[in-house]
């Protein structure tokens, strides 16, 4: 048994909230071996970030270690671990753009840290910084070191943070959600970098994330955390081949479903077209040169099908959604809506036959309105006057989304994320639209709740004969729900077709990369 680097014995951490203290970590036991890369996987709120802060003794003001002890190699450093911070332990955070002081040059901050750590002179520290930037494959370090954080991309900044953390020559590196905020293709490069550096420098790495796939590919062992407790810890292969704890099982099953050919449309929907979007063009002029948000975007949506749009942040998918909803003027192109009797109309103003659900459950609901007012708003806007009719309509719609009528009088802040999203859906349904534009409806929800909402949408599609335009950055979700999918990259649709065809023989290189980031086809 190799000698362990860190040993945590029944660690307990409490946060002193205004009313009652809440337990964030309750008797966590964990051992971290020298030189290994341990994955600590759990959903948001499971306490994994709190554990990271515990290690470097930076608990928030109202948090404190109630019991348990920490051993570093063989010495007990429960109280003395703050001295390790910045010397033996380094950390990389989730949001690279916020990790450095935005008003100070990167080079200056690099030098400050190195001077603090090794007491180098300015020149020596600067040279060291350039050297480390080369190691993390950043070209012409002099130019970069002279720039400010907001002038660089997320990927570059994260590389710099990794360089900085390794430059202090730590024994132990904590990567707290280091890849979560990055785009799919950059995510892989960064984890590759961390892996290569750790082997080269023989550094132990604790990789904290909610992304099982990446953990599987790179971590030696994986610890699964849920509600402040490590439910299971094992070699990566054993975790995936035969998970013991029920929670681990749900996590891994979620993955399987995404990979398999789960999506089967029983009967082939007869091709009756509902909406046709013809070469939409939209430009944004930011300090004089205009960047194309959307260029020649065309796609058709058929009745009762779910049309998926996959695109990463900045690809223009939300702009497209707003244009279809006609709450944003398009520069060029047409949005044609087909009526039952075959006639069609190029709509330029918001149309009651199109409903919408957005991503942020709280942001979609006006905090100053009760649920009944929220759901009633579309009715009032389109001219319903009679109180009783509105009341009855609201109740019927609320039940459709399986919410109890007693929460009609409540305010949005009092509901859970899932409930809020279902209120949004109810509001979109109340005018019986034909098309529902869903812009990342489930991205901000926990996996468990995501499943519930997606099932609800599936059921509603069947009952209400709805057509969905499902926009997401998560190929996993689209693979499950979308009949057809279009890939949006930098404002252009580079590929569209039946979901299976796109998944298994993508034509474009970008799509291939996207798919490889989501599915691991070599198990």
């Amino acid at each position: 048994m190799k000698e362990h680097l860190f040993l945590f014995e029944n660690i307990g951490v409490e946060i002193q909230r205004k009313t009652k203290p809440t337990k964030v970590l309750n008797n966590v036991n964990l051992d971290i071996q020298e030189g290994e890369m341990l994955g600590l996987i759990g959903e948001t709120g499971s306490g994994k970030s709190m554990f990271a802060r515990l290690i470097i003794d930076l608990l928030p003001e109202n948090g404190r270690l109630t019991h348990g002890q920490i051993l570093h190699r063989s010495t007990n450093c429960t109280d003395g671990r703050s001295v390790l911070r910045g010397r033996k332990i380094a950390m990389v955070f989730q949001d690279p753009m916020q990790s450095l002081n935005p008003v100070q040059r990167i080079g200056k901050q690099f030098v400050i840290v190195l001077q603090k750590r090794f007491g180098y002179s300015n020149e020596r520290a600067y040279l060291e910084a350039c050297d480390w930037l080369d190691k993390v494959q950043i070209s012409n370090p002099d130019n970069i070191l002279n720039r400010f954080p907001h002038q660089l991309s997320g990927g570059q900044m994260q590389r710099i943070m990794i360089a900085l953390s390794m430059a202090v020559k730590p024994e132990f590196l904590i990567a707290d959600e280091a890849t979560t905020a990055l785009d799919a293709n950059i995510k892989l490069e960064i984890i590759e970098l961390i892996n290569s550096l750790r082997n080269e420098k023989n550094t132990t790495v604790l990789f904290i994330s909610h992304d099982l796939l990446i953990a599987r590919r790179y971590c030696d062992r994986i610890a699964v955390m849920n509600k402040g407790r490590i439910v299971e810890i094992n070699k990566t292969i054993d975790i995936f081949s035969h998970p013991k704890h029920v929670y681990t099982k749900t996590l891994i099953s979620g993955l399987h479903k995404l990979m398999g050919k789960s999506h089967k449309k029983e009967e082939q929907a007869e091709k009756k077209i509902l909406m046709s979007v013809k070469n939409i063009k939209k430009t944004y002029t930011a300090n004089k040169e205009n960047t194309y948000a959307l260029e020649h975007v065309s796609l058709d949506i058929y009745k009762k099908e779910t049309m998926g749009i996959i695109g990463e942040s900045g690809s223009g998918k939300t702009t497209l959604a707003k244009i279809i909803l006609n709450i944003l003027q398009r520069d060029f192109g047409s949005v044609i809506l087909f009526n039952g009797d075959g006639s069609k109309k190029n709509i330029t103003r918001p149309n009651s036959r199109i409903g919408a659900v957005f991503q942020d459950p709280l942001g979609s609901l006006n905090p100053r309105m009760t649920v009944s007012d929220i759901v009633a708003e579309p009715l009032i806007v389109s001219g319903w006057k009679n109180k009783l009719e509105i009341e009855e309509k609201i109740e019927k719609t609320i039940n459709k989304v399986n919410l109890e009528t007693d929460l009609l009088k409540r305010f949005p802040q009092m509901l859970s994320g899932g409930q809020r999203q279902r209120v949004s859906i109810a509001r979109a349904l109340v005018l019986q639209p034909d098309l529902l534009v869903l812009d990342e409806p489930t991205s901000s929800l926990d996996i468990h709740v995501q499943g519930i909402v997606l099932d609800l949408l599936k059921e509603l599609q069947h009952l209400e004969k709805l057509t969905y335009l499902f926009i997401s950055h998560d190929l996993g979700v689209l693979a499950k729900v979308a009949d057809r999918v279009a890939v949006l990259y930098q404002g252009r649709i580079i590929e569209q077709g039946i979901t299976e065809e796109i998944l298994y023989n993508p034509r474009e290189k970008y799509t291939e990369k996207l798919i490889s980031a989501f599915f691991d086809n070599n198990i």
Partner: protein, 281 residues
């Protein structure tokens, strides 16, 4: 909103100033019927009792004309509260609609309104109320108009910045996607959600308005004798404040107390109504 009110009243440092202000209001209304020197308020003079220090008969002593300072100071509370509320209500009524309009409609409407407010805000604080009150003629009501006219641009700015933020919120976009017009959006979404910063600014400005109105009375442009007003009481003591300290001290202390209360209530309101600052209990 009611949930906000409950939690503010429960907070300690909003209760004390609140009680102080209410006490001041009631006592200033009741004093003419309670105090033995009630006619001093209308300007009665008893020279033989002039310039007496604080004593049992005269808690705050008497001024050169023998008038009881305690009765006058308490009564003056009423005029100051009148100024505070008058200024704030007028400034909000003038400023908020303009700000919402500028924020919601934007384009040239926004440009014009903002240039005018920039013009008003370019004046250092006291000059505009001073000049306007001088134009309208010295009186407390003119002071209210003078201060309100020079302050409404602050409310235009607050309402506009709030409108700009809320206009881009999802629930407003969704509301627009249902086909709702600007008026509906302003009434239903933007106004209710921009109330909190306006209320916070209003409560702090109420205190500040009292300071400015006392200053204007001090120069002679605010309340006219024999009206009971703190600034006027202080300026009338100038000829011999060096050796009759009580005539100037007590009205001033009441100004400090009232303005302090408004400031503390304003801060508590900011903490309660502003989700970011309110601790996530």
């Amino acid at each position: 909103m009611h949930m906000a009110l409950q939690s503010i009243l429960s907070r300690k440092n909003a209760m004390i100033p609140g009680v102080f202000l209410l006490l001041l209001l009631f006592s200033s209304v009741l004093i003419p019927y309670v105090s033995p020197y009630a006619e001093d308020i209308r300007g009665a003079v008893h020279f033989e009792a002039g310039n007496q220090g604080p004593s049992l008969q005269h808690w705050f002593g008497t001024d050169a004309a023998g008038r009881d300072i305690f009765t006058l100071t308490i009564r003056a509370g009423l005029s100051s509260l009148k100024v505070a509320l008058g200024v704030v209500i007028l400034a909000v009524l003038l400023g908020v609609p303009l700000g919402l309009l500028a924020g919601t409609i934007g384009r040239w409407v926004d440009e014009i309104i903002m240039r005018i407010t920039d013009g008003f805000l370019a004046f250092p604080p006291l000059i505009l109320p001073l000049t306007i009150t001088a134009v309208l003629g010295p009186s407390l009501n003119n002071v209210i108009i003078g201060i309100a006219v020079s302050w409404f641009p602050w409310y235009v700015r607050i309402a506009r910045s709030q409108a700009l933020v809320i206009r881009s919120m999802d629930y407003v976009l969704l509301s627009k996607s249902m086909g709702s017009g600007n008026i509906h959006v302003m009434k239903k979404h933007i106004l209710p959600n921009s109330l909190s910063p306006i209320i916070v600014q209003a409560s702090i400005d109420a205190g500040y308005a009292i300071l400015i109105s006392a200053g204007l009375s001090f120069i002679g442009l605010g309340a006219q004798p024999p009206e009971a007003e703190w600034g006027l009481l202080i300026t009338q003591s100038r000829a011999q404040f060096l050796n009759h300290w009580w005539v100037v001290t007590f009205p001033g202390l009441f100004i400090v107390g009232t303005v302090l209360s408004f400031n503390m209530i304003g801060d508590e309101l900011r903490n309660v109504l502003n989700p970011k600052l309110a601790d996530q209990s």
